[in-house]
């Protein structure tokens, strides 16, 4: 099955890039998630979140850039990881193709709504 598929042979296949991406993004994600979690979950605390808090935080452009990187690295890493797990169970070429397209659509959707919020910022009601 896999060996018959010319797309996964050779060192320049999509699977090789995916494999490398998981490991390279991991090195970026460890410090990115580390600081994000310490500041948001430990110093600020989830219970202290508010629209005003997010607005103040995003007044600094650096935090928006930080969050864009976090979104891009973390969600692509997650989608790729989920794909690896699903492919342990899904073996047929047809369903793997369906899975790929579904994951691509989901990846684009969530990345889009995350990015639009980071770029658009907080809309204060009233």
């Amino acid at each position: 099955m896999i060996a018959d598929n010319p797309r996964v042979q050779g060192s320049r296949s999509i699977e090789t890039y995916s494999w490398k991406w998981m490991r390279l993004s991991a090195f970026f994600l460890i410090p990115l998630v580390w600081f994000h979690s310490i500041i948001q979950a430990l110093i600020t605390g989830g219970g202290n979140l508010s629209l005003e808090y997010v607005q103040t935080r995003w007044m600094f452009l650096g935090w928006r850039i930080y969050d864009i990187f976090l979104l891009a690295f973390a969600f692509s890493h997650g989608i790729s990881g989920l794909r690896q797990v699903l492919f342990d169970f899904i073996k047929s070429a047809h369903w793997r193709s369906v899975t790929n397209w579904a994951l691509l659509a989901f990846w684009l959707l969530i990345t889009f709504i995350g990015a639009i919020a980071i770029i658009g910022g907080v809309r204060m009601p009233g």
Partner: protein
Amino acid sequence: MPDNTTTTIKGYIKYRGQGHYAFLMHRISGLATFVFLTLHIATTSTVFLAPSMYEMLVRVFRNPVVMVGEIIMAFFVVYHGVNGFRIAYNDLFHNELWAKASTRSALGYVFITAFVLWLPAICIMGYNLLKSGLGFFGGE
């Protein structure tokens, strides 16, 4: 064609030597983190897409059950980071560390490091849970 799903699940359950539990924990923590991340992005995006909903969601984040879930999530994220670092480092730079003896000693370090790094989360998030979630220490 053999039933691949059964084969996969049997492979997951049956102990397959050094690193098997680390592998299983990596998958479980990764899937949990993925679900959390998706919800986290979706809920945070309401600051732009539906701001009045965000205020409602913040009240959900203060629910004690959600706060306990966050403390457990913190362990999953920390474990996934520590074990993921080992995987990426071994794969990209030091393949020989995948040898049986090295893996065995590394696993102990992985679980201990993850637990130690989790302690600040237990203390601080646990304090917040007792204070603002359950009303101890003069919290509401």
